[in-house]
């Protein structure tokens, strides 16, 4: 039986839930465990009720857990609000002195987090380290990996800071060590020799993917939950030779990315649904001028400002149809950090090869959550810049035929300034040379040329991932960030005696060609699982395949699904 431990660290914004969760995640990932961390926080800088939840397993994990085994309460509100989330055998560690909470339950462990931090570290800020030490003690783990981590983390701030944090951690560890432990089933046996894993968020994976793809230009305006992508790329701009321009708004950001791309460099922007709303006109500009463009849309709860720090998958139809008129585009929707990395590399290749806009759809769950993975290999995707002309060819015309009619629909483009030929890009309908025209025959030829690119694109779109029981009676259908939930929920349903499989799309538009008979038995009922109100993908799937969707498990409260929740709702539907 594999281990499955779920630790929730709750408190006010600014109390360091992310720091504690990140530290615990790193300690276990280094010892070869699989870790998934998701963040549940309010749209504010200080205060409120927020938590980070770390799930540790000995098998791969990419979904939030159902039951909390260990609750670390950094404030009173966490005790009041989150105790119900604790499983029957679960343990809570809290500051009895500070919170005033009293309990005789032996699984309610009071550790004076703030007092110990002051005594050992000289400041209540070190409460984090006290709490992390206490959590490790309750899990029956050694303290050493934490002490090592604190040294790495705070080494640059001097030995005093390191030592105070270490003393705080030790104090928490010793105090909690006198109390009860987590149940035996939560025992994680760490092997020192195990190969360490990478622990990174979806946003970090996207940023790394962009760097690996040779990104040269980024323009953006911060918007949750996409901002960490911009921040990570900004931190590497000098080392990797990237121009990072903080734009005045999303309209400027996307137009800048298009301008830089026209000039010959790989360019991108990232935003959320609200910012993408402002980018819509320029999306069509990229389509019409056939300028490669990569836009990350990290979805959050809508409409309008909606739920700024929470998750939703409600922008699928929006990005599929955004902007007036018709033009080819690609929409990708990775399911975890590993997919996010490769997906970004592929997005740049598709954008360049087909000279189209490519949208990478993330969401708060994918972008803010941390995932473990073994390694990332940029060479697996490589860099394909498509038909670009970097220097004059013999007999090149003075004016390059930028929109030459070709069998594939893709017309070679020159790099302005590097060739003696010149080229025009034009947002009006245009001639092969890029000049404005309203001639009906040219209009038809140009339209058909652009749309013809879809044939080539379709051949590049990956088939959906399948798993679980085959043949089956239930097939869970999903896309994007629900991958981990689909996998686990289908397992659970199967264990209840109803064979259940899943079908997950990480490349959603155009819908890949796929032989659905391979996963559909005579008795199979398709149940769509989506973080939105209407089941947008289910409708699209039905529209393109003609297959009917039996049921829909939908969630639009801004919180992610858990596997148990999906399994339970699927079984109820039968």
């Amino acid at each position: 039986m594999s281990v499955d431990v779920n630790i929730r660290i709750g408190g006010k914004a600014g109390q360091g839930m992310q720091a504690v969760s990140g530290t615990l995640g790193k300690i276990f990932a280094r010892r070869g465990c699989h870790v998934f961390i998701h963040q549940d926080f309010e749209s504010r800088i200080r205060g409120g009720h927020n938590f980070a939840q770390v799930r540790i397993r000995t098998v791969p994990v990419r979904a939030p857990g159902d039951r909390v085994n260990l609750l670390v309460a950094l404030d009173r509100e966490t005790i009041d609000k989150d105790l119900p989330a604790l499983g029957e055998e679960g343990v809570v560690v809290y500051d009895g002195e500070k919170s005033g909470f009293r309990s005789s339950n032996p699984r309610h462990v009071s550790v004076p987090l703030e007092r110990l931090a002051r005594e050992a570290g000289g400041s209540s800020v070190m409460m984090n380290s006290v709490a992390t030490g206490a959590a490790l003690a309750l899990m029956g783990q050694d303290l050493d990996p934490l002490l090592e981590h604190l040294e790495e983390e705070f080494g640059s701030k001097g030995t005093e800071v390191v030592e105070k944090n270490q003393a705080s951690a030790r104090a928490g560890y010793q105090e909690a060590g006198r109390s009860c432990r987590l149940e035996e089933a939560c025992k994680i046996c760490l092997e020192k020799s195990a190969r360490g894993r990478l622990l990174l968020t979806g946003s970090q994976a996207m940023a790394l993917g962009a760097l690996a793809a040779g990104l040269r230009f980024y323009a953006g305006y911060p918007m949750s939950p996409s901002t960490p992508i911009m921040e990570y790329i900004a931190s590497k701009q000098e080392e990797f030779g990237i121009v990072m321009e903080p734009a005045e708004d999303e309209i400027a950001a996307v137009n800048m990315a298009i301008g830089a791309s026209f000039a010959g460099v790989r360019a991108m922007t990232a935003t959320s649904g609200g910012g993408f709303s402002l980018m819509v006109e320029a999306l069509g500009l990229a389509g019409m001028t056939e300028t490669p463009l990569v836009v990350v849309v990290a979805q959050r709860g809508g409409p309008s400002t909606g739920l700024p720090t929470r998750t939703e998958q409600a922008d699928l139809r929006f990005v599929m149809h955004a902007s007036q008129g018709e033009f080819p585009r690609v929409v990708l929707a990775p399911g975890d950090a590993e997919q996010a990395f490769y997906c970004m590399m592929k997005a740049f290749n598709l954008a360049d090869r087909f000279q189209v806009p490519v949208i990478v759809l993330g969401d708060q769950l994918l972008n803010d959550s941390s995932f473990t993975l073994d390694c990332l290999e940029p060479a697996r995707v490589g860099i394909e810049r498509g038909e670009m002309i970097w220097q004059d060819l013999a007999g090149a015309p003075e004016t390059h035929r930028r929109y030459a009619i070709t069998p594939t629909g893709v017309s070679p483009r020159i790099v302005p300034g590097l060739c003696r030929s010149v080229q025009y890009a034009c947002s009006d309908e245009h001639t092969e040379e890029g000049h404005i025209t309203e001639d009906p025959a040219i209009r038809r030829a140009m339209f058909e040329k652009r749309m013809r690119k879809l044939e080539g694109i379709r051949r590049e779109i990956a088939a959906p991932a399948t798993g679980g029981s085959q043949p089956n009676e239930i097939l869970l259908l999903g896309w994007g960030s629900t991958l981990g939930v689909l996998e686990e929920a289908s397992d659970r349903v199967s264990r209840e005696g109803v064979p259940c499989g899943f079908l997950h799309f990480q490349e959603v538009f155009p819908l890949p060609t796929f032989d659905f008979s391979a996963v559909l038995g005579p008795k199979t009922k398709i149940i769509a699982v989506e973080n939105n109100f209407s089941g947008q993908f289910a409708d699209f799937f039905r529209e393109r395949t003609g297959l009917s969707v039996f049921g829909r498990i939908l969630k639009y409260d801004g919180r992610p699904f858990t596997p148990g929740e999906v399994a339970g709702r699927a079984l109820e539907m039968l």
Partner: protein, 287 residues
């Protein structure tokens, strides 16, 4: 040697006969030729409007984008390849209405490009509606009772933004305009040339004659120093019996692209592909 002929475009011109745009086109070509710029070293970026069509009427690199979005495209082209001479061009609607936010931030950023605004104080391509630079009380089909809002003064805005080169030209004085554009291109930073231009089809108020009676050359004013910001404000606010043309304001600020580390080794577009081994070194921080 570069000649005017090198810039000749085969695309037929779609402007109204007698339009001031023709003079601006000629002045721009003269300025580029006088600086010895070959067409492939130049990129003209525009948005939408009659003025924006100018991209097609010169043979050089061109990007004819969206209404109001000229400056974001132009700035990024320059950042991606700072060896190109980048000219952004459009009308008063494109630049001062739809693109107003970009205008302010482009001046703040100070990327080395030349922004030519064909300011005819009316919307031309949509057939004669009130623009942000139309006079107070200007009667059009969108303001039948006369415009209730006073005109925007782009030059005051530019001086307030410490734009390094603020000039006003007049399409009725082609030689003077060509010289202004030449100086604007030579200026290392964001350069604005607001160009007064009669709209022969729609603007019955600000006609060629109206402008001719009012414009005067500021460099012929004794003692005028364009580096004196307060004096520049005073002249930029002058609009009525007398209207100054010429370079109203100059300041010395380093242009943005000279401050970006990634551009120190040459244009971004010429950088070799990213070494993927260096990407792998980044993974260490996540272990």
């Amino acid at each position: 040697m570069v000649t005017l002929d090198d810039y000749r475009s085969a695309d037929p011109i779609a402007w109204c006969p007698g339009c001031g745009n023709f003079s601006i086109l000629t002045a721009l070509k003269k300025a580029l030729v006088s600086l010895g710029k070959a067409p492939h070293q130049v990129c003209i970026v525009s948005g939408i409007g009659q003025a924006a069509k100018i991209v097609h009427y010169l043979r050089c690199n061109g990007f004819n984008g969206l209404h109001g979005r000229t400056l974001p495209i132009a700035q990024a082209v320059k950042l991606a390849n700072h060896e190109l001479t980048v000219i952004a061009e459009g009308g008063d609607g494109d630049g001062y209405a739809e693109g107003g936010n970009h205008f302010i931030h482009a001046m703040r950023r100070n990327i080395d490009l030349t922004y030519l605004v064909h300011n005819n104080q009316v919307y031309g391509l949509t057939k004669g509606q009130t623009s942000p630079t139309s006079e107070l009380g200007y009667v059009s089909r969108t303001t039948p009772g006369g415009s209730l809002s006073p005109p925007e003064n782009p030059l005051l805005l530019a001086i307030a933004s410490d734009c390094g080169f603020v000039a006003r030209g007049f399409s009725g004085d082609n030689e003077h305009l060509a010289e202004l554009i030449r100086q604007a291109i030579l200026h290392k930073g964001f350069a604005l040339v607001d160009i007064l231009q009669p709209c022969v089809s729609f603007n019955r108020v600000n006609t060629l004659q109206w402008y001719k009676e009012r414009v005067y050359k500021i460099d012929q004013e004794p003692g005028y120093d364009p580096e004196n910001r307060l004096a520049a404000f005073e002249r930029a606010a002058e609009w009525g019996r007398r209207i100054p043309i010429g370079v109203l304001y100059r300041s010395r600020r380093p242009s943005l692209e000279t401050k970006i580390p990634a551009l120190r080794q040459g244009p971004l577009v010429a950088r070799p592909p990213t070494d993927q081994c260096r990407i792998e070194s980044l993974f260490e921080e996540f272990r």
